[in-house]
Symmetry: C2
C-alpha cells in the first residue's frame, strides 16, 4: 500500500475512500488491465474480419514487448495472478476465467473463419485449436519471466503458428 501511495501520488485516505480495501482495489486493477492492456492488443484478433494474420500479429506484438525490455520480464498481470491467487477466491477466479474465455472466443472465431464452411477442421477441432492457442500464450508469458533470450520466445510463437497453419491446411489430427 505504501508503494501505491508513493507511485500514484494518491493519499492513503484517498485510496480507502474509493475502495473498501486491497481486495476490491485489486479487482478493479484486473478490470482496468482488461480494457487498458488486453483490449488494445487483442482488438485486431477480435475484429469482425480478422484472419490468421491477426493471430500472427498478436504474438508479434507480445514479442516486440519482450524484445524491447532488457533482462527478465515481469509477465502478464492475468497470467501472474493465475498462479498466485488462492483458487477459492471466486471473484478473481471468475475474472481470470472471463479473460481466458475472451481469448478463446477471439481465436476460435478467427480459426473458424480461416477454416471456412468446408474446411478440414470440425467444430470440436476448432475448439481444441483455440484452446491450444490460448493456453500456449499463457506458457509464453510464464517463460518470458525466466529467459532474457527473446529469440527463444519468438521461435516458440513461430512454431505455434506454424502448427496452427498446418492443422488448417488439413494435416493429420
Amino acid at each position: 500500500m505504501g508503494d501505491l501511495v508513493r507511485e500514484t501520488g494518491v493519499s492513503r485516505g484517498g485510496i480507502y475512500s474509493d475502495f473498501s480495501g486491497k481486495q476490491e482495489l485489486f479487482h478493479a486493477c484486473l478490470d482496468h488491465y482488461q480494457e487498458a492492456v488486453v483490449t488494445p492488443v487483442f482488438a485486431q484478433v477480435e475484429a469482425e474480419d480478422a484472419g490468421i494474420d491477426s493471430i500472427r500479429c498478436y504474438f508479434d506484438n507480445l514479442l516486440s514487448g519482450f524484445e524491447a525490455m532488457e533482462g527478465f520480464g515481469i509477465g502478464c498481470l492475468v497470467g501472474n495472478t493465475l498462479t498466485q491467487i488462492d483458487p477459492s477466491e471466486e471473484v478473481t477466479q471468475e475474472k481470470l476465467q472471463a479473460h481466458c474465455t475472451r481469448l478463446f472466443n477471439g481465436f476460435r472465431k478467427v480459426l473458424a473463419r480461416e477454416n471456412g464452411p468446408d474446411g478440414p477442421l470440425s467444430a470440436a477441432e476448432l475448439d481444441d485449436l483455440a484452446h491450444f492457442t490460448m493456453i500456449s500464450a499463457q506458457g509464453l508469458w510464464s517463460y518470458s519471466r525466466l529467459t532474457d533470450d527473446a529469440a527463444i520466445l519468438r521461435r516458440y510463437a513461430e512454431t505455434l503458428i506454424a502448427s496452427i497453419e498446418t492443422r488448417l491446411r488439413g494435416a493429420a489430427s
Copy 2:
C-alpha cells in the same frame, strides 16, 4: 511458518536449527521437489532409449493427476514459483532455469532420437520443438489452476503431441 510447524510436526526451533530462515528453507524445498516429484515423473523421458511414447506418457501422467483431483488444481511448485518470485532473487531463478533446462534436454534427446540421423528436422528445429514442448507444459500447468475440466487439458496435450508428430513426419516448418 505456523502452517509448517503444524503440518510437519517439527518445532519452530527445529526448523530454524536446520535452516537459516524461510528463504533457505524454500530453496531446499525446490531441490527436494526436483528429486521427489520431477525425477520420478520425468525419468521415462530421460531414459537412454526413450522414444516419442515417453513424451506421450509423461503428459498422460500429468493428466491423470489433473483428472484425479476434484475442483481446481494448485499447479506445480516450479511453475507457480516462476510467476511469483522476484526475478532478482537469483538463487531461485537459477533453480528454475535448471529445471527448464532439464526438461528441455530430456525432450530434446527424445526428439533427436525420434528424428534419426537423416530426419526432416535440423538441429535448430529440434531445439525449437524441444522448447515448444517444455514451454507448452508450463502453459498446461498454469491453466490447470483455472479449469476443472480436465478434458480440455487432455485435448491440449493431444493437440501438442499431434503437432510434434506432424513435425517429425516432415510437415512444413
